[in-house]
Symmetry: C2
Protein backbone atom coordinates (compact mmCIF):
# COMPACT_ATOMS: atom_id res chain seq x y z
CA UNK A 1 0.00 0.00 0.00
CA UNK A 2 3.01 2.30 -0.21
CA UNK A 3 2.46 2.81 -3.95
CA UNK A 4 0.53 5.60 -5.61
CA UNK A 5 -2.67 3.56 -5.86
CA UNK A 6 -2.62 2.76 -2.15
CA UNK A 7 -2.15 6.38 -1.19
CA UNK A 8 -5.01 7.48 -3.44
CA UNK A 9 -7.27 4.85 -1.89
CA UNK A 10 -6.29 6.05 1.60
CA UNK A 11 -7.15 9.63 0.69
CA UNK A 12 -10.50 8.46 -0.70
CA UNK A 13 -11.29 6.37 2.37
CA UNK A 14 -10.49 9.28 4.70
CA UNK A 15 -13.61 10.95 3.28
CA UNK A 16 -15.68 7.73 3.21
CA UNK A 17 -18.35 6.38 5.51
CA UNK A 18 -17.55 3.70 8.07
CA UNK A 19 -19.46 1.18 5.94
CA UNK A 20 -17.33 1.92 2.86
CA UNK A 21 -14.10 1.76 4.85
CA UNK A 22 -15.09 -1.59 6.34
CA UNK A 23 -16.04 -2.99 2.93
CA UNK A 24 -12.68 -1.94 1.43
CA UNK A 25 -10.88 -3.67 4.30
CA UNK A 26 -13.12 -6.76 4.18
CA UNK A 27 -12.62 -7.22 0.44
CA UNK A 28 -8.87 -6.88 0.87
CA UNK A 29 -8.60 -3.81 -1.35
CA UNK A 30 -7.31 -1.72 1.57
CA UNK A 31 -4.51 -3.32 3.62
CA UNK A 32 -2.75 -0.39 5.27
CA UNK A 33 -2.87 1.56 8.54
CA UNK A 34 -6.12 2.96 9.90
CA UNK A 35 -4.99 6.30 11.43
CA UNK A 36 -7.45 8.97 10.35
CA UNK A 37 -10.00 6.51 8.95
CA UNK A 38 -13.56 6.10 10.26
CA UNK A 39 -13.24 9.36 12.15
CA UNK A 40 -15.35 9.60 15.25
CA UNK A 41 -15.38 5.83 15.77
CA UNK A 42 -13.41 3.86 18.33
CA UNK A 43 -10.48 1.86 16.95
CA UNK A 44 -9.18 -1.17 18.77
CA UNK A 45 -6.13 -3.39 19.20
CA UNK A 46 -6.80 -7.07 18.70
CA UNK A 47 -5.79 -10.37 20.31
CA UNK A 48 -7.28 -13.71 19.31
CA UNK A 49 -6.43 -16.92 21.17
CA UNK A 50 -7.81 -20.34 22.09
CA UNK A 51 -10.38 -20.39 24.91
CA UNK A 52 -7.98 -22.37 27.11
CA UNK A 53 -5.98 -19.15 27.63
CA UNK A 54 -8.86 -16.66 27.51
CA UNK A 55 -9.68 -16.46 31.22
CA UNK A 56 -6.05 -15.79 32.13
CA UNK A 57 -5.70 -13.17 29.40
CA UNK A 58 -8.92 -11.49 30.50
CA UNK A 59 -7.61 -11.44 34.07
CA UNK A 60 -4.37 -9.92 32.77
CA UNK A 61 -6.33 -7.14 31.06
CA UNK A 62 -8.50 -6.54 34.14
CA UNK A 63 -5.39 -6.26 36.32
CA UNK A 64 -3.58 -3.95 33.92
CA UNK A 65 -6.36 -1.69 32.66
CA UNK A 66 -4.08 1.18 31.61
CA UNK A 67 -1.99 -0.75 29.05
CA UNK A 68 -4.83 -3.25 28.32
CA UNK A 69 -8.21 -1.46 28.37
CA UNK A 70 -10.63 -4.21 27.39
CA UNK A 71 -13.40 -2.96 25.11
CA UNK A 72 -14.87 -6.17 23.71
CA UNK A 73 -14.76 -9.97 24.02
CA UNK A 74 -16.40 -12.41 21.62
CA UNK A 75 -18.28 -15.57 22.41
CA UNK A 76 -16.05 -18.61 21.98
CA UNK A 77 -15.81 -19.56 18.30
CA UNK A 78 -17.98 -16.65 17.15
CA UNK A 79 -16.12 -14.34 14.73
CA UNK A 80 -18.84 -11.68 15.05
CA UNK A 81 -17.77 -9.11 17.60
CA UNK A 82 -21.42 -8.14 18.05
CA UNK A 83 -20.96 -5.88 21.08
CA UNK A 84 -18.77 -3.51 19.04
CA UNK A 85 -20.39 -3.57 15.61
CA UNK A 86 -23.57 -4.57 13.81
CA UNK A 87 -21.71 -6.67 11.22
CA UNK A 88 -18.07 -6.99 12.27
CA UNK A 89 -16.51 -10.25 11.06
CA UNK A 90 -13.18 -10.36 12.81
CA UNK A 91 -11.74 -12.80 10.25
CA UNK A 92 -11.69 -10.15 7.52
CA UNK A 93 -12.37 -6.70 8.98
CA UNK A 94 -8.84 -5.80 10.07
CA UNK A 95 -6.43 -4.62 7.31
CA UNK A 96 -3.56 -6.88 8.43
CA UNK A 97 -2.95 -9.52 11.11
CA UNK A 98 0.19 -10.87 12.79
CA UNK A 99 0.21 -14.59 13.54
CA UNK A 100 2.25 -15.77 16.51
CA UNK A 101 3.12 -19.43 17.02
CA UNK A 102 4.79 -20.43 20.30
CA UNK A 103 5.36 -16.76 21.07
CA UNK A 104 7.15 -15.98 17.81
CA UNK A 105 5.89 -13.95 14.86
CA UNK A 106 5.19 -16.52 12.16
CA UNK A 107 3.78 -14.24 9.46
CA UNK A 108 1.39 -11.46 8.48
CA UNK A 109 -1.84 -11.92 6.51
CA UNK A 110 -4.85 -9.82 5.49
CA UNK A 111 -7.53 -12.43 6.25
CA UNK A 112 -7.64 -15.23 8.84
CA UNK A 113 -10.68 -17.13 7.56
CA UNK A 114 -8.55 -20.17 6.69
CA UNK A 115 -6.92 -20.48 10.13
CA UNK A 116 -9.97 -19.63 12.23
CA UNK A 117 -10.61 -22.16 15.03
CA UNK A 118 -13.88 -23.03 16.77
CA UNK A 119 -12.24 -22.43 20.15
CA UNK A 120 -10.97 -18.91 19.38
CA UNK A 121 -11.90 -15.98 21.63
CA UNK A 122 -11.47 -12.43 20.29
CA UNK A 123 -10.33 -9.57 22.51
CA UNK A 124 -10.51 -5.92 21.46
CA UNK A 125 -8.52 -3.36 23.46
CA UNK A 126 -8.76 0.44 23.38
CA UNK A 127 -5.97 2.38 21.67
CA UNK A 128 -4.31 5.78 21.92
CA UNK A 129 -5.97 7.33 18.86
CA UNK A 130 -8.88 8.42 21.07
CA UNK A 131 -6.96 10.49 23.61
CA UNK A 132 -4.55 11.78 20.95
CA UNK A 133 -7.49 13.35 19.10
CA UNK A 134 -8.64 14.91 22.38
CA UNK A 135 -5.16 16.38 23.02
CA UNK A 136 -4.93 17.81 19.51
CA UNK A 137 -8.44 19.25 19.78
CA UNK A 138 -7.30 20.99 22.98
CA UNK A 139 -4.52 22.68 21.00
CA UNK A 140 -1.71 20.28 21.93
CA UNK A 141 -0.25 19.17 18.58
CA UNK A 142 1.64 15.86 18.77
CA UNK A 143 4.97 15.71 16.97
CA UNK A 144 4.61 12.15 15.64
CA UNK A 145 1.24 12.96 14.08
CA UNK A 146 2.40 16.29 12.63
CA UNK A 147 5.43 14.52 11.14
CA UNK A 148 3.65 11.35 10.08
CA UNK A 149 5.87 9.02 12.10
CA UNK A 150 5.07 6.29 14.64
CA UNK A 151 4.96 7.35 18.29
CA UNK A 152 8.17 6.38 20.18
CA UNK A 153 7.66 3.41 22.52
CA UNK A 154 9.89 2.14 25.34
CA UNK A 155 10.12 -0.89 27.58
CA UNK A 156 9.79 0.62 31.10
CA UNK A 157 10.79 -0.93 34.41
CA UNK A 158 7.16 -0.93 35.61
CA UNK A 159 6.01 -4.50 36.30
CA UNK A 160 2.57 -5.45 35.10
CA UNK A 161 0.41 -7.59 37.39
CA UNK A 162 0.70 -11.15 36.06
CA UNK A 163 -2.15 -13.56 35.33
CA UNK A 164 -1.36 -17.13 34.41
CA UNK A 165 1.38 -17.12 31.74
CA UNK A 166 0.87 -13.44 30.89
CA UNK A 167 3.42 -11.09 32.44
CA UNK A 168 6.17 -8.59 31.68
CA UNK A 169 7.25 -4.96 31.90
CA UNK A 170 4.87 -2.22 30.82
CA UNK A 171 5.56 -0.67 27.42
CA UNK A 172 4.99 3.09 27.35
CA UNK A 173 4.65 5.66 24.57
CA UNK A 174 6.18 9.14 24.83
CA UNK A 175 4.71 12.50 23.82
CA UNK A 176 6.48 15.79 24.56
CA UNK A 177 4.14 18.41 26.04
CA UNK A 178 4.84 22.10 26.81
CA UNK A 179 5.85 22.52 30.48
CA UNK A 180 2.89 24.70 31.38
CA UNK A 181 0.32 22.25 30.03
CA UNK A 182 1.42 18.98 31.61
CA UNK A 183 -1.38 18.89 34.19
CA UNK A 184 -3.93 19.70 31.51
CA UNK A 185 -2.68 16.91 29.23
CA UNK A 186 -2.85 14.46 32.13
CA UNK A 187 -6.41 15.53 32.99
CA UNK A 188 -7.60 15.30 29.39
CA UNK A 189 -6.27 11.78 28.91
CA UNK A 190 -7.49 10.61 32.32
CA UNK A 191 -11.02 11.12 31.02
CA UNK A 192 -10.45 8.27 28.53
CA UNK A 193 -10.02 5.14 30.67
CA UNK A 194 -10.67 2.96 27.60
CA UNK A 195 -7.75 4.64 25.79
CA UNK A 196 -4.96 4.17 28.38
CA UNK A 197 -6.15 6.97 30.71
CA UNK A 198 -3.74 9.34 32.47
CA UNK A 199 0.02 9.08 31.85
CA UNK A 200 1.94 6.67 34.10
CA UNK A 201 4.94 9.01 34.40
CA UNK A 202 6.38 12.33 33.26
CA UNK A 203 9.68 14.11 33.62
CA UNK A 204 12.97 12.23 34.00
CA UNK A 205 12.78 9.13 31.77
CA UNK A 206 15.19 7.33 34.13
CA UNK A 207 12.40 7.37 36.72
CA UNK A 208 10.80 4.46 34.88
CA UNK A 209 14.02 2.88 33.68
CA UNK A 210 14.39 4.57 30.29
CA UNK A 211 18.10 5.24 29.70
CA UNK A 212 17.86 7.31 26.51
CA UNK A 213 14.60 8.97 25.46
CA UNK A 214 15.96 9.50 21.94
CA UNK A 215 16.28 5.75 21.37
CA UNK A 216 12.86 4.10 21.43
CA UNK A 217 12.49 0.30 21.52
CA UNK A 218 9.61 0.52 19.00
CA UNK A 219 8.40 3.29 16.68
CA UNK A 220 10.34 6.37 15.63
CA UNK A 221 12.40 8.78 17.74
CA UNK A 222 10.72 12.12 18.49
CA UNK A 223 12.36 15.24 19.94
CA UNK A 224 11.71 16.68 23.40
CA UNK A 225 12.13 20.38 22.57
CA UNK A 226 13.34 23.01 25.08
CA UNK A 227 10.48 23.91 27.42
CA UNK A 228 8.74 20.56 26.88
CA UNK A 229 8.33 17.62 29.25
CA UNK A 230 8.37 13.99 28.10
CA UNK A 231 5.08 12.38 29.19
CA UNK A 232 4.69 8.59 29.17
CA UNK A 233 1.43 6.74 28.66
CA UNK A 234 0.74 3.00 29.06
CA UNK A 235 0.90 1.46 25.60
CA UNK A 236 -1.02 -1.24 23.75
CA UNK A 237 2.21 -3.03 22.84
CA UNK A 238 2.28 -4.24 26.47
CA UNK A 239 -0.23 -7.08 25.90
CA UNK A 240 1.69 -8.05 22.74
CA UNK A 241 4.85 -8.47 24.86
CA UNK A 242 2.88 -10.44 27.49
CA UNK A 243 1.48 -12.67 24.74
CA UNK A 244 4.97 -13.36 23.41
CA UNK A 245 6.10 -14.22 26.95
CA UNK A 246 3.20 -16.64 27.33
CA UNK A 247 4.31 -18.62 24.23
CA UNK A 248 0.80 -19.68 23.28
CA UNK A 249 0.70 -22.34 20.54
CA UNK A 250 -1.24 -19.82 18.45
CA UNK A 251 -2.27 -16.22 18.91
CA UNK A 252 -3.32 -13.63 16.34
CA UNK A 253 -3.04 -9.87 16.77
CA UNK A 254 -3.59 -6.89 14.48
CA UNK A 255 -0.47 -5.69 12.68
CA UNK A 256 0.59 -2.55 14.60
CA UNK A 257 -1.24 0.52 13.29
CA UNK A 258 -3.68 -1.66 11.33
CA UNK A 259 -6.56 -1.55 13.78
CA UNK A 260 -10.13 -2.75 13.98
CA UNK A 261 -12.52 0.16 13.32
CA UNK A 262 -15.68 -0.39 15.37
CA UNK A 263 -19.25 0.99 15.28
CA UNK A 264 -18.75 2.52 18.74
CA UNK A 265 -18.70 6.32 18.92
CA UNK A 266 -15.38 7.60 20.21
CA UNK A 267 -17.10 9.51 23.01
CA UNK A 268 -19.45 6.67 24.05
CA UNK A 269 -19.63 6.12 27.80
CA UNK A 270 -19.29 2.35 27.39
CA UNK A 271 -17.97 0.43 24.35
CA UNK A 272 -21.04 -1.76 23.98
CA UNK A 273 -23.89 -1.57 21.46
CA UNK A 274 -27.37 -2.05 22.87
CA UNK A 275 -28.61 -5.62 22.19
CA UNK A 276 -30.37 -6.12 18.86
CA UNK A 277 -31.51 -9.75 19.16
CA UNK A 278 -31.95 -10.55 15.46
CA UNK A 279 -28.45 -9.31 14.56
CA UNK A 280 -26.49 -10.38 17.57
CA UNK A 281 -27.65 -13.78 18.68
CA UNK B 1 -26.41 -7.01 64.93
CA UNK B 2 -29.69 -5.19 65.46
CA UNK B 3 -29.16 -5.21 69.24
CA UNK B 4 -27.56 -2.49 71.34
CA UNK B 5 -24.14 -4.16 71.28
CA UNK B 6 -24.12 -4.34 67.50
CA UNK B 7 -25.04 -0.71 67.15
CA UNK B 8 -22.32 0.37 69.57
CA UNK B 9 -19.77 -1.68 67.65
CA UNK B 10 -20.92 -0.05 64.39
CA UNK B 11 -20.48 3.41 65.89
CA UNK B 12 -17.00 2.45 67.12
CA UNK B 13 -15.99 1.01 63.74
CA UNK B 14 -17.17 4.15 61.91
CA UNK B 15 -14.26 5.92 63.63
CA UNK B 16 -11.81 3.02 63.20
CA UNK B 17 -9.02 2.39 60.73
CA UNK B 18 -9.50 0.10 57.74
CA UNK B 19 -7.30 -2.50 59.47
CA UNK B 20 -9.46 -2.54 62.60
CA UNK B 21 -12.67 -2.76 60.57
CA UNK B 22 -11.30 -5.68 58.55
CA UNK B 23 -10.15 -7.50 61.72
CA UNK B 24 -13.60 -7.11 63.31
CA UNK B 25 -15.21 -8.56 60.19
CA UNK B 26 -12.62 -11.33 59.81
CA UNK B 27 -13.04 -12.47 63.42
CA UNK B 28 -16.80 -12.50 63.03
CA UNK B 29 -17.42 -9.91 65.72
CA UNK B 30 -18.96 -7.54 63.16
CA UNK B 31 -21.57 -9.10 60.85
CA UNK B 32 -23.67 -6.17 59.67
CA UNK B 33 -23.82 -3.70 56.77
CA UNK B 34 -20.78 -1.71 55.70
CA UNK B 35 -22.33 1.66 54.73
CA UNK B 36 -20.19 4.41 56.26
CA UNK B 37 -17.34 2.08 57.27
CA UNK B 38 -13.76 2.33 55.95
CA UNK B 39 -14.49 5.80 54.60
CA UNK B 40 -12.46 6.77 51.58
CA UNK B 41 -11.98 3.16 50.47
CA UNK B 42 -13.71 1.42 47.60
CA UNK B 43 -16.38 -1.10 48.60
CA UNK B 44 -17.32 -3.95 46.31
CA UNK B 45 -20.08 -6.40 45.50
CA UNK B 46 -18.98 -10.02 45.39
CA UNK B 47 -19.60 -13.09 43.25
CA UNK B 48 -17.70 -16.35 43.71
CA UNK B 49 -18.20 -19.29 41.34
CA UNK B 50 -16.42 -22.33 39.88
CA UNK B 51 -13.89 -21.62 37.12
CA UNK B 52 -16.06 -23.48 34.61
CA UNK B 53 -18.43 -20.49 34.60
CA UNK B 54 -15.86 -17.72 35.15
CA UNK B 55 -15.10 -16.80 31.53
CA UNK B 56 -18.81 -16.45 30.71
CA UNK B 57 -19.44 -14.38 33.82
CA UNK B 58 -16.46 -12.16 33.05
CA UNK B 59 -17.79 -11.67 29.51
CA UNK B 60 -21.19 -10.81 31.02
CA UNK B 61 -19.55 -8.11 33.17
CA UNK B 62 -17.49 -6.76 30.25
CA UNK B 63 -20.64 -6.50 28.11
CA UNK B 64 -22.69 -4.85 30.85
CA UNK B 65 -20.19 -2.50 32.50
CA UNK B 66 -22.79 -0.15 33.96
CA UNK B 67 -24.61 -2.71 36.16
CA UNK B 68 -21.49 -4.93 36.50
CA UNK B 69 -18.34 -2.77 36.78
CA UNK B 70 -15.59 -5.33 37.30
CA UNK B 71 -12.98 -4.14 39.80
CA UNK B 72 -11.12 -7.34 40.68
CA UNK B 73 -10.77 -11.03 39.75
CA UNK B 74 -8.85 -13.62 41.75
CA UNK B 75 -6.60 -16.35 40.47
CA UNK B 76 -8.46 -19.66 40.37
CA UNK B 77 -8.54 -21.22 43.84
CA UNK B 78 -6.72 -18.31 45.47
CA UNK B 79 -8.81 -16.67 48.22
CA UNK B 80 -6.43 -13.69 48.38
CA UNK B 81 -7.83 -10.88 46.26
CA UNK B 82 -4.32 -9.41 46.00
CA UNK B 83 -5.07 -6.75 43.39
CA UNK B 84 -7.52 -5.03 45.75
CA UNK B 85 -5.87 -5.44 49.16
CA UNK B 86 -2.59 -6.35 50.81
CA UNK B 87 -4.16 -9.04 53.00
CA UNK B 88 -7.74 -9.64 51.88
CA UNK B 89 -8.89 -13.21 52.52
CA UNK B 90 -12.18 -13.43 50.72
CA UNK B 91 -13.30 -16.43 52.84
CA UNK B 92 -13.66 -14.27 55.96
CA UNK B 93 -13.41 -10.58 55.09
CA UNK B 94 -17.02 -9.93 54.12
CA UNK B 95 -19.53 -9.52 57.01
CA UNK B 96 -22.12 -11.90 55.52
CA UNK B 97 -22.43 -14.12 52.43
CA UNK B 98 -25.40 -15.54 50.53
CA UNK B 99 -24.99 -19.06 49.18
CA UNK B 100 -26.90 -19.98 46.03
CA UNK B 101 -27.33 -23.58 44.92
CA UNK B 102 -28.91 -24.25 41.51
CA UNK B 103 -29.92 -20.57 41.37
CA UNK B 104 -31.76 -20.57 44.68
CA UNK B 105 -30.72 -18.91 47.95
CA UNK B 106 -29.68 -21.79 50.19
CA UNK B 107 -28.52 -19.84 53.23
CA UNK B 108 -26.47 -16.98 54.66
CA UNK B 109 -23.20 -17.36 56.58
CA UNK B 110 -20.46 -15.12 57.94
CA UNK B 111 -17.50 -17.23 56.80
CA UNK B 112 -17.07 -19.52 53.79
CA UNK B 113 -13.83 -21.24 54.78
CA UNK B 114 -15.57 -24.60 55.11
CA UNK B 115 -17.18 -24.53 51.67
CA UNK B 116 -14.28 -22.98 49.75
CA UNK B 117 -13.36 -24.92 46.59
CA UNK B 118 -10.02 -25.10 44.75
CA UNK B 119 -11.76 -24.17 41.50
CA UNK B 120 -13.43 -20.99 42.82
CA UNK B 121 -12.87 -17.65 41.10
CA UNK B 122 -13.69 -14.45 43.00
CA UNK B 123 -15.20 -11.41 41.25
CA UNK B 124 -15.44 -7.98 42.89
CA UNK B 125 -17.76 -5.39 41.31
CA UNK B 126 -17.98 -1.67 42.03
CA UNK B 127 -20.97 -0.37 43.98
CA UNK B 128 -23.04 2.80 44.26
CA UNK B 129 -21.54 4.03 47.56
CA UNK B 130 -18.81 5.80 45.60
CA UNK B 131 -20.99 8.00 43.41
CA UNK B 132 -23.51 8.56 46.21
CA UNK B 133 -20.77 10.15 48.30
CA UNK B 134 -19.84 12.34 45.34
CA UNK B 135 -23.47 13.46 44.91
CA UNK B 136 -23.85 14.27 48.59
CA UNK B 137 -20.55 16.16 48.60
CA UNK B 138 -21.92 18.24 45.71
CA UNK B 139 -24.86 19.23 47.91
CA UNK B 140 -27.36 16.69 46.57
CA UNK B 141 -28.65 14.88 49.67
CA UNK B 142 -30.12 11.45 48.94
CA UNK B 143 -33.40 10.61 50.64
CA UNK B 144 -32.62 6.96 51.39
CA UNK B 145 -29.35 7.90 53.10
CA UNK B 146 -30.88 10.79 55.05
CA UNK B 147 -33.67 8.45 56.20
CA UNK B 148 -31.50 5.39 56.78
CA UNK B 149 -33.44 3.16 54.37
CA UNK B 150 -32.35 1.00 51.44
CA UNK B 151 -32.39 2.63 48.00
CA UNK B 152 -35.48 1.62 45.95
CA UNK B 153 -34.63 -0.85 43.16
CA UNK B 154 -36.72 -1.90 40.14
CA UNK B 155 -36.61 -4.53 37.46
CA UNK B 156 -36.49 -2.45 34.24
CA UNK B 157 -37.34 -3.54 30.70
CA UNK B 158 -33.73 -2.93 29.56
CA UNK B 159 -32.20 -6.17 28.31
CA UNK B 160 -28.64 -6.87 29.38
CA UNK B 161 -26.25 -8.33 26.80
CA UNK B 162 -26.11 -12.08 27.52
CA UNK B 163 -22.98 -14.20 27.88
CA UNK B 164 -23.31 -17.97 28.19
CA UNK B 165 -26.01 -18.72 30.79
CA UNK B 166 -25.95 -15.19 32.24
CA UNK B 167 -28.78 -12.93 31.07
CA UNK B 168 -31.81 -10.95 32.21
CA UNK B 169 -33.29 -7.49 32.56
CA UNK B 170 -31.26 -4.69 34.10
CA UNK B 171 -32.10 -3.81 37.70
CA UNK B 172 -32.00 -0.06 38.37
CA UNK B 173 -31.93 2.04 41.53
CA UNK B 174 -33.88 5.31 41.83
CA UNK B 175 -32.81 8.61 43.38
CA UNK B 176 -34.98 11.76 43.17
CA UNK B 177 -32.97 14.84 42.14
CA UNK B 178 -34.13 18.49 41.98
CA UNK B 179 -35.21 19.38 38.43
CA UNK B 180 -32.55 22.03 37.93
CA UNK B 181 -29.69 19.70 38.88
CA UNK B 182 -30.40 16.62 36.76
CA UNK B 183 -27.61 17.29 34.25
CA UNK B 184 -25.18 17.96 37.06
CA UNK B 185 -26.06 14.70 38.84
CA UNK B 186 -25.61 12.80 35.57
CA UNK B 187 -22.21 14.41 34.94
CA UNK B 188 -20.97 13.75 38.48
CA UNK B 189 -21.86 10.06 38.37
CA UNK B 190 -20.55 9.60 34.83
CA UNK B 191 -17.08 10.33 36.23
CA UNK B 192 -17.29 7.07 38.22
CA UNK B 193 -17.36 4.28 35.60
CA UNK B 194 -16.43 1.73 38.28
CA UNK B 195 -19.50 2.74 40.31
CA UNK B 196 -22.24 2.36 37.64
CA UNK B 197 -21.42 5.64 35.81
CA UNK B 198 -24.11 7.94 34.44
CA UNK B 199 -27.82 7.14 34.97
CA UNK B 200 -29.45 4.92 32.34
CA UNK B 201 -32.71 6.89 32.37
CA UNK B 202 -34.53 9.77 34.02
CA UNK B 203 -38.05 11.18 33.91
CA UNK B 204 -41.08 9.01 33.21
CA UNK B 205 -40.49 5.62 34.92
CA UNK B 206 -42.70 3.97 32.27
CA UNK B 207 -39.96 4.76 29.76
CA UNK B 208 -38.00 1.81 31.11
CA UNK B 209 -41.00 -0.33 32.01
CA UNK B 210 -41.53 0.72 35.62
CA UNK B 211 -45.27 0.84 36.27
CA UNK B 212 -45.26 2.37 39.75
CA UNK B 213 -42.23 4.22 41.09
CA UNK B 214 -43.62 4.02 44.62
CA UNK B 215 -43.48 0.21 44.60
CA UNK B 216 -39.86 -0.99 44.28
CA UNK B 217 -39.06 -4.65 43.59
CA UNK B 218 -36.21 -4.49 46.14
CA UNK B 219 -35.31 -2.02 48.90
CA UNK B 220 -37.59 0.60 50.41
CA UNK B 221 -39.95 3.05 48.69
CA UNK B 222 -38.68 6.64 48.50
CA UNK B 223 -40.71 9.74 47.58
CA UNK B 224 -40.27 11.80 44.40
CA UNK B 225 -41.12 15.24 45.82
CA UNK B 226 -42.65 18.08 43.75
CA UNK B 227 -39.96 19.68 41.61
CA UNK B 228 -37.83 16.52 41.63
CA UNK B 229 -37.08 14.07 38.81
CA UNK B 230 -36.67 10.32 39.37
CA UNK B 231 -33.22 9.31 38.06
CA UNK B 232 -32.37 5.66 37.48
CA UNK B 233 -28.90 4.15 37.70
CA UNK B 234 -27.77 0.64 36.73
CA UNK B 235 -27.72 -1.46 39.90
CA UNK B 236 -25.46 -4.18 41.30
CA UNK B 237 -28.45 -6.45 41.86
CA UNK B 238 -28.40 -7.05 38.08
CA UNK B 239 -25.57 -9.64 38.21
CA UNK B 240 -27.32 -11.33 41.14
CA UNK B 241 -30.43 -11.77 38.96
CA UNK B 242 -28.27 -13.05 36.07
CA UNK B 243 -26.59 -15.51 38.43
CA UNK B 244 -29.95 -16.81 39.60
CA UNK B 245 -31.02 -17.20 35.95
CA UNK B 246 -27.84 -19.18 35.21
CA UNK B 247 -28.68 -21.74 37.92
CA UNK B 248 -25.07 -22.53 38.75
CA UNK B 249 -24.63 -25.56 40.99
CA UNK B 250 -22.98 -23.21 43.49
CA UNK B 251 -22.38 -19.48 43.64
CA UNK B 252 -21.62 -17.24 46.60
CA UNK B 253 -22.36 -13.52 46.78
CA UNK B 254 -22.14 -10.90 49.53
CA UNK B 255 -25.36 -10.41 51.48
CA UNK B 256 -26.82 -7.14 50.10
CA UNK B 257 -25.37 -4.13 51.92
CA UNK B 258 -22.66 -6.30 53.49
CA UNK B 259 -19.82 -5.44 51.14
CA UNK B 260 -16.14 -6.14 50.79
CA UNK B 261 -14.11 -3.11 51.93
CA UNK B 262 -10.93 -2.94 49.86
CA UNK B 263 -7.54 -1.17 50.20
CA UNK B 264 -8.26 0.82 47.03
CA UNK B 265 -8.76 4.57 47.47
CA UNK B 266 -12.23 5.63 46.39
CA UNK B 267 -10.77 8.18 43.94
CA UNK B 268 -8.12 5.84 42.48
CA UNK B 269 -7.91 5.94 38.68
CA UNK B 270 -7.79 2.13 38.48
CA UNK B 271 -8.85 -0.41 41.14
CA UNK B 272 -5.52 -2.24 41.18
CA UNK B 273 -2.70 -2.13 43.74
CA UNK B 274 0.82 -1.94 42.31
CA UNK B 275 2.47 -5.37 42.43
CA UNK B 276 4.33 -6.20 45.64
CA UNK B 277 5.88 -9.53 44.73
CA UNK B 278 6.46 -10.88 48.23
CA UNK B 279 2.87 -10.25 49.31
CA UNK B 280 1.01 -11.02 46.15
CA UNK B 281 2.54 -14.03 44.52
Amino acid sequence: MRGQGGYRLYETLRQSSLTDVRQAIRQGSYRSHTAGLGQGYLQANLAIMPEAHALDFMRYCQRNPKPCPLTGVSDTGNPKLFTMGRDIDIRSDVPAYNIYRDGRLAGSVTDIGDIWQDDFVVFALGCSFTFERALEQAGLPLWHIQNNTTVPMFRSNIETVPAGPFRGKMVVSMRAIPEGRVAEAAAISRAYPLAHGAPVHWGDPAGIGIADVSKPDWGDAAPVPEGHVPMFWACGVTPQVAIEAARLPICITHKPGHMLITDIAEDAEVPVLAPEPEAAF
